[in-house]
């Protein structure tokens, strides 16, 4: 072991984990970093009076991976693999968001078919993300069975992703200009099967929890936040909508032809756990409807834009045509010139507005790439939301906010 590691271990020996003391009536309780309800690594140091939480201080950064620093050293086409690992519950949305950013930067028009294919993938990913969140709310209230029902459906979505790109979770799916390959026949049959089966299971899950008084009592009023406060905190996505603000990037700043689709924006009233749960449930239904609309309207056409400078040529052409070979080498080496400029592009990620702020100096890799990570932005409201509530509420609030550690800690 190197000395560097030794040093920081030594420093840590002043042991933050056993700093628990009981003074008078108040106690300090460490929720995390490895508490089962944290689903990821979060540390919350709570000051409690009995079960009531008086104060909370979070520590984040336990899985800080320096995404933004890596992005400054990697060629543009390798950054897709980084975006995979931001919000890993819905990585295709991140991939596509990055591809959109690049397309905007180089000024490329993608065919309508690509847009629709992307919409299908993104909505599947959104369902995937919300399924995790809602089933985990179920687990944290003690109902494990709904979780297993939904996870079978998530396997179905994974199979769909696998059919498109060859991986289940970290998909690395999108390419600048379109898709790596067209959707296969198997994909379409599997998608049809999914659209047939999923609503049944989803209804079962809904019946298990939504109107069950035990569940409603647990979630109504747990971790509320008002619309004004939520906006002050720059909330976005389902958590903001649960507070009653109908802000959705898909409607406000449509990308990927989202303006072609008809869907509603579900909102809640108080921004408590029940609102968040119900907003996500409804969004899943809306996503299903969007997918169906996309299938119905799917135009014919190529699955990628004609973009020889950024989209890899087919392997045959690399063999046979000099031009293709040159482009191939240029793309892989990251030597295709990109325009100089500054760009902000956002998509509606699983958890809210996922933004990419890119500064390009024309070089091989971004000069600066900042991710607007919704989880990082709204997790700071957590202490305020759980103050005056019980430990059980805190656990539920955490899971219903769907804080993804990878996105939180960058």
């Amino acid at each position: 072991m190197s000395n560097e590691n030794e040093d920081y271990l030594e420093e840590y020996k002043q042991d933050r984990l056993s700093h628990e003391t009981i003074d008078g009536d108040l106690a300090t309780l460490n929720l995390g970093p490895t508490h089962p309800a944290t689903h990821g690594i979060f540390e919350n140091i709570l000051t409690v009076d009995g079960e009531k939480i008086l104060d909370a201080v979070q520590t984040v950064g336990y899985i800080h991976r320096a995404f933004e620093k890596i992005a400054e050293r990697r060629p543009y086409n390798q950054i897709t693999t980084l975006t995979d690992r931001l919000n890993y519950c819905s990585s295709p949305i991140n991939n596509i968001g990055w591809a959109l950013t690049m397309e905007k930067l180089i000024g490329c028009e993608v065919p309508k078919r690509v847009d629709y294919m992307r919409v299908i993938i993104m909505e599947l990913a959104r369902i995937n993300d919300h399924l995790i969140c809602n089933s985990v709310i179920g687990v944290d209230t003690g109902a494990l069975t709904g979780f297993t029902y939904l996870f079978q459906q998530r396997e179905a979505i994974y199979e769909l992703f696998e059919e498109v790109c060859g991986a289940r979770l970290t998909t690395n799916m999108c390419r600048i200009g379109g898709f790596e390959r067209d959707f296969s026949k198997t994909f379409w049959t599997k998608l049809d099967a999914f659209l047939l089966n999923f609503p049944k299971v989803f209804t079962e899950f809904d019946n298990l929890l939504s109107r069950n008084r035990i569940f409603m009592d647990r979630t109504i009023g747990a971790g509320p936040i008002s619309a004004e406060r939520a906006l002050e905190y720059s909330f976005s996505g389902p958590n903001l909508r649960a507070a009653g603000v109908d802000y959705d990037v898909r409607v406000m700043n449509p990308y990927c032809s989202y303006e072609d689709f008809d869907f509603i924006i579900p909102v809640g009233s108080q921004g408590d756990t029940y609102d968040r749960f119900q907003v996500r449930q409804e969004e899943i239904r809306q996503s299903l409807s969007i997918i169906k609309q996309a299938i119905a309207k799917m135009p014919e056409g190529p699955y990628h834009a004609g973009l020889p400078e950024f989209y890899l040529p087919p392997k045959q052409d690399v063999y046979e045509k000099m031009e293709a070979l040159i482009y191939h080498f240029k793309i892989v080496m990251g030597e295709t010139p990109v325009p100089v400029g500054e760009i902000y592009q956002s998509v509606e990620g699983g958890n809210g507005e996922l933004g990419f702020y890119l500064i390009s100096d024309g070089g091989r890799s971004p000069y600066r790439l900042q991710f607007r990570r919704p989880c990082f932005i709204y997790y700071q409201a957590y202490p305020e939301m759980i103050k005056g509530q019980t430990i059980s509420d805190a656990v539920l609030t955490l899971s219903s906010m769907n804080v993804i550690a990878g996105e939180l800690d960058a």
């Binding site: 072991m1 190197s2 590691n5 920081y8 271990l9 840590y12 020996k13 984990l17 970093p33 490895t34 508490h35 089962p36 689903h39 990821g40 690594i41 950064g61 336990y62 899985i63 800080h64 991976r65 320096a66 620093k69 890596i70 693999t81 980084l82 995979d84 690992r85 890993y88 519950c89 995790i132 979780f147 297993t148 029902y149 996870f151 079978q152 998530r154 396997e155 994974y158 289940r168 979770l169 970290t170 550690a405 990878g406 800690d409």
Partner: protein, 184 residues
């Protein structure tokens, strides 16, 4: 990285005085079929681990569905996901709190080697902090691979002598990680 090759552990099994007796075998079998995992899931691999627990792969078949979030009750530490330098000491603490015998499964590229995160903030493999028994490659690994890894651990558990944890080789091995072998 430490100079410990983890094979040393396996070698000691058949060293002098460590012949497997039938009691060893019976207990090995019992342990292998009842490995209660402590999931130390931090990121993407944690989601795949959840998928492994789900109906389609069903860890319960191996007698492992009882998650032990308390380290005292766990037999197998499953580290799934990136471990940053900030988290390293926490991981070590959890390992120290586990009662013997204990095994460690490192799931995924990040936990095993840092993966693509060759950065200033990420620990380049958890075997710099705690001893690892089995590595599972993949980013994240498929549930099949995680089950493969678990079955590899089963093989190790079945073939382990009851007294290995008291042996000096074992204590030396822990010593190279600055871990005292008696728990806290």
């Amino acid at each position: 990285m430490g100079k410990v090759t983890l094979d040393a552990k396996l070698e000691t099994i058949n060293g002098q005085g460590f012949q497997l007796t039938s009691i060893d075998k019976a207990i090995g079998l019992a342990r292998a079929n009842s490995l209660w995992p402590l999931p130390f899931a931090t990121s993407c691999c944690g989601i795949e681990f959840m998928a492994t627990m789900g109906s389609n792969y069903d860890l319960a078949r191996f007698g492992m569905e009882r998650m032990s979030f308390s380290p005292r009750q766990a037999d197998l530490l499953i580290v799934a996901g990136t471990i940053s330098k900030k988290l390293g000491p926490v991981l070590k603490k959890v390992y120290e709190q586990m009662a013997e015998p204990k095994w460690v499964l490192s799931v995924g590229a990040c936990a095993s080697s840092g993966g693509i995160f060759d950065t200033y903030s990420v620990l380049q493999g958890i075997d710099r902090v705690i001893p690892v028994d089995v590595y599972v490659p993949g980013c994240p690994p498929r549930p099949e691979q995680i089950i493969d890894g678990i079955m590899k651990i089963h093989e190790m558990v079945k073939n382990e002598s009851l007294r290995r944890r008291n042996s000096s080789e074992y204590k030396d091995m822990l010593g190279t990680f600055n871990i005292e072998s008696d728990g806290e």
